[in-house]
Symmetry: C2
Subunit: 369 residues, 2 copies
C-alpha cells in the first residue's frame, strides 16, 4: 500500500516513519550509553503499535497514565505496563487484581495509604499479588507522597501481604519545559536527587527495591546523571512537538535538536478569499490549543504561520513574497503539544517518501479512565 | 436502567436531562415568539440523539460543520442537514453528489467560485442537484465571501445547472462572546444587517432564495430582530459551558441566565496529600483547556475551584472552611468550552435525579473531516 497524501481525507494525522525511527534510536542509544533502561510513556502517542516499536528498539517496558490505557496495551499484547497515576476506585482495583491473577505484567504507582489499603483488599479477595512503586512528589503537589512521608508509606506497604514494593517513581513534570538547559539541569538534579536519597534510605532499611523510574523528554540527558535512577519514562521524544522543539539543549541553547518532528496534522485549504492568509480545515478540535502555536512544516520555504481560527478552522498566514496557497492545497502542521493532539484522532497515517505506507489505530484514544 | 454516579468509570461526561430539556424548550419558545425557525448546530454536541431531540422539539433541520459529521447524522436518520463549512476536495464532493442522488436532504455552504465549480462538476457526473447557500463573511476573514463579491458568486452559481441557490448563511463568530449585551447587540445587528441587505438585493435580482440562516447562542435574542433572518444556527444553548454562562444578558448584565449548565465532567479524587487542594482524574485531555476555567458544580456549597494540572489531572482547591475532599470522592465539573470537550468523549451519560437513565453515543466524535 502506498497512498499519496492528496488521497487522504483531511484533517488527519501523519507520522513520518524515518524521523520517528530516528527518534527511537537516538533515545535508546542515549539511555544505553548512560547504563540506564527505557520505559517510554504511552500517554503521549496512545498507540500500541508505537509501544511495540519502542519495545522492539530495546525498551524494558512501557508506561500508561490511566488503567484504561494499560488495559488497551495489554489487549494488544504490550507488556510489562506500569500505570503511573493513582488507581483508587473499587471497580478499577478489582480489574487490576483480575489482571494480576491472570498473570499479566502490570504494576501500579501508589501515593497514599488509602490507595494501598484499597489495592491490598482487592488483591486479597482475588488471591493476587500486585507489584507497586511509591510515587514520590517532586514538590509539585499533584500526585505522589512527599519524601518525608514516603518511608511511612513504605512501611505500610510492607505490612500488606498482597503488595510487593518494587521501587520508586518520580516525575518532575514541573521541570520538563524550563527553557534554559542549565536551569533545567540544576532543578531536575536537585529534585531527582531527593528521590535518589530516599531510594538509598529505603534500601538501607531493607526494602528490596530494584526500580527507580522517572524523568521526561526535557530532562532525558540530565536525569541519567542520577546514579540511582534505573529507567526513563520519556514520552514526547518519539514524535515531538513545537513545545519540546523550542527548548534549549546542552549543545545548542536555542534548539532541542536531539529529536525530530515526526508528527504532523495534514490539512486542506478551504477558503482563500482574504489577503495575506488562507483558512484551513484544522482548528482547535484537531490541533489542541496550547503554547507556542503550531508550526507549518509544508509547503516548506514560505514562512507560513499557523494560528487557530476557532473550533473547526485554522488561519495560515501567507507572507508577501511567499508562494500563494489556493483552495484545495495541502498544508502540513506540527502540533503545539503532541499528547492531547494525538488523542483527538483515531488513526496514525505512517508516511514514507510522501506516501502512506501503513495505518496504525490510535487504540488508546479517549482512554482517560 | 438507573446507574448511580458512583458506579461510573471516571472521568466521564454527564448530561443533566431536566436542564437539557429546559434549554431546548427555552430556545424553541424564544425563536417561535420571534417568528423564526431553529436549525441547531451539531458541531457543539456531536450526538445524533441530541439532534433528534432538537428536531422533536420543533427544529426544522440541523447544521454540521464538516461533511463527516453530516454523514454520521444522515446515517442516524437525522435530516435535513446543512454543512456550514466549505467542502472543496474531489473525494468529499463525490460523496455529497452520491448522497444527493440518493435523495438525502443535505445542503452545503459555498464561499468561492472554485468550490462551486468543483461541486457543479461532481454533481454533473452523478446526475445530482445540490442545494447551496452562499456563506457570507461577517468581516472575520475566516470563511465566507465578502458582501461586495457575493452577487458575482450568486451569478456564477446561477449558471451552474446542478446547483440550486437556496439562500444565504452568515455566522458572526467574532461577536458571540462579546461580554456586554449592548455591545454584542450593536455589533451583531450591524453585521447581520449587511447580510440582510444582500439578501434583499439578491431577491430583487431574481434569485428565489428562501433561507437566511445564521446567529449563535450569544446573539440568540438579538438576531431575531433582523426581519430577513429565517432561522438560527445556535449550538451551545443545548448544554452550555462556563464561557456562555458568564456572558452579560439583556435582563441581567452579569449573567446569561436563559440557559442552564446541563453538561458536566464527572471526576474522582485521586490524591489528597497536599494542603488546600486535591488532585482529580480530569485534566486537559478531558476538560478542553480554554478560558475562563471550568467550574465545580458538585459537591455544591464548598466554593471549590478547578484548574488544570497537566494532561491527565485537575487541581481542585478546597478553601478553608469548606468540607474536605478525600481519595475516591466524586467531583462534577462544568467545562470551560462545551464543543471541544464533548469531542473528547465517546458517550453522554444522561442523568436524572442523580442516576444515569440512558447512555447516548457521541457518534460524531472525532468527525473533523
Amino acid at each position: 500500500m502506498r497512498t499519496p497524501l492528496r488521497d487522504l481525507d483531511t484533517p488527519c494525522l501523519l507520522l513520518e516513519r524515518p524521523l520517528f525511527l530516528s527518534n527511537l534510536r537516538a533515545m535508546q542509544d542515549s539511555v544505553a550509553r548512560a547504563g540506564k533502561r527505557l520505559r517510554p510513556h504511552a500517554k503521549t502517542h496512545k498507540c500500541s503499535r508505537v509501544s511495540r516499536a519502542q519495545l522492539d528498539a530495546g525498551a524494558v517496558g512501557v508506561c500508561a497514565a490511566k488503567l484504561s490505557e494499560a488495559e488497551a496495551l495489554l489487549a494488544a499484547g504490550v507488556e510489562p505496563v506500569l500505570v503511573t497515576g493513582p488507581v483508587v476506585t473499587q471497580a478499577k482495583l478489582e480489574r487490576v487484581a483480575a489482571l494480576r491473577s491472570a498473570g499479566r505484567r502490570l504494576s501500579l504507582a501508589v501515593d497514599s495509604e488509602e490507595a494501598a489499603r484499597r489495592l491490598e483488599s482487592a488483591c486479597a479477595r482475588a488471591g493476587a499479588v500486585a507489584e507497586v512503586l511509591i510515587d514520590v512528589d517532586p514538590r509539585l503537589g499533584r500526585t505522589g507522597v512527599s519524601v518525608a512521608r514516603a518511608p511511612s508509606l513504605a512501611d505500610f506497604i510492607g505490612t500488606c501481604r498482597h503488595l510487593r514494593l518494587a521501587g520508586l517513581q518520580m516525575y518532575a513534570g514541573n521541570v520538563q519545559h524550563l527553557q534554559d538547559h542549565a536551569e533545567r539541569r540544576a532543578r531536575s538534579l536537585e529534585l531527582m536527587g531527593e528521590g535518589a536519597e530516599l531510594f538509598r534510605e529505603l534500601r538501607r532499611r531493607g526494602f528490596a527495591m530494584t526500580v527507580f523510574t522517572g524523568g521526561g523528554t526535557g530532562t532525558f540527558d540530565i536525569d541519567t546523571g542520577v546514579p540511582e535512577l534505573t529507567d526513563l519514562q520519556v514520552g514526547s521524544y518519539a514524535v515531538m512537538d513545537v513545545q519540546y522543539l523550542g527548548l534549549g539543549s546542552r549543545e545548542d541553547p536555542a534548539a532541542f535538536g536531539h529529536f525530530r518532528p515526526a508528527l504532523r496534522v495534514l490539512s486542506t485549504v478551504l477558503s482563500a478569499n482574504a489577503r495575506g492568509h488562507v483558512t484551513v480545515d484544522a482548528g482547535l478540535k484537531t490541533l489542541y490549543r496550547d503554547t507556542p502555536a503550531p508550526a507549518v512544516a509544508a509547503p516548506a520555504g514560505g514562512a507560513y504561520a499557523y494560528d487557530w481560527y476557532g473550533d473547526e478552522y485554522g488561519k495560515v498566514s501567507v507572507p508577501s513574497g511567499a508562494p500563494a496557497l489556493a483552495v484545495g492545497d495541502l498544508v502540513e502542521i506540527v502540533p503545539s503539544h503532541c499528547d492531547p493532539t494525538i488523542n483527538l484522532f483515531d488513526r496514525l497515517h505512517v508516511v514514507e517518501d510522501g506516501a502512506v505506507v501503513e495505518v496504525w489505530p490510535i487504540d488508546l484514544r479517549g482512554k482517560s479512565q
